[in-house]
């Protein structure tokens, strides 16, 4: 069974803090993704990575950065958290090698509240 884990289920931070959200997958997947989920807006792609040290911007990258130093780990960084970054953050991974047509496996999500 593919397992995607995220470091925290709930996180409360203050405006201006640097925030790290960690995601780990255990199936040797090449592709990893960070999404943001807000009511009425669906799943919006922040960043994705198709290989170690490779990263690409998604649809809403502003205010975020990512790091992928190891294949199994993909980190989302909020350099200076703001209240409009309060949201549910979902990580996902997929096998890779044939583009992005494969099944994505999602982690349980991190609900971030920025005060």
């Amino acid at each position: 069974d593919v397992k995607v884990t995220q470091s925290s289920r709930y996180l409360v931070k203050r405006t201006g803090e640097k925030v790290f959200l960690e995601c780990v997958q255990d199936m040797d997947h090449e592709n990893m993704f960070w999404y943001r989920q807000d009511p009425g807006l669906g799943l919006r792609l922040i960043y994705f990575s198709y290989d170690v040290k490779m990263k690409e911007k998604g649809d809403i990258p502003e205010g975020y950065s990512v790091s992928r130093e190891k294949k199994e780990r993909f980190s989302l960084i909020l350099e200076s958290a703001s209240t409009n970054q309060t949201s549910m953050y979902l990580c996902a991974s997929s096998l890779g090698g044939t583009g992005f047509q494969e099944t994505q496996y999602f982690g349980p999500g991190t609900r971030l509240l920025v005060l």
Partner: protein
Amino acid sequence: QQPVQSPQAVILREGEDAVINCSSSKALYSVHWYRQKHGEAPVFLMILLKGGEQKGHEKISASFNEKKQQSSLYLTASQLSYSGTYFCGTERRSGNTPLVFGKGTRLSVIA
């Protein structure tokens, strides 16, 4: 651009049928369907890769009309366990770009 899903929400009684639509203004190469139950992660249902193809998962099936740039998800004889939010994800170019997900359709099945 996000694909457009309709309806935004639907309430069904057990045993009733429902159709969820997903349409795009851009050419579609594949359509993916996911279901997210309340408080859980989205889970993959099916991928449709060819125009006109139909696939099934339990009593849930889907079609993909390449010409109309749309896909429909059919839920037959709905069960309480079908409740959740359904997302379609569309592929913008064949194999080269990640999915764009719609805003979701919230389905509630009541006894």
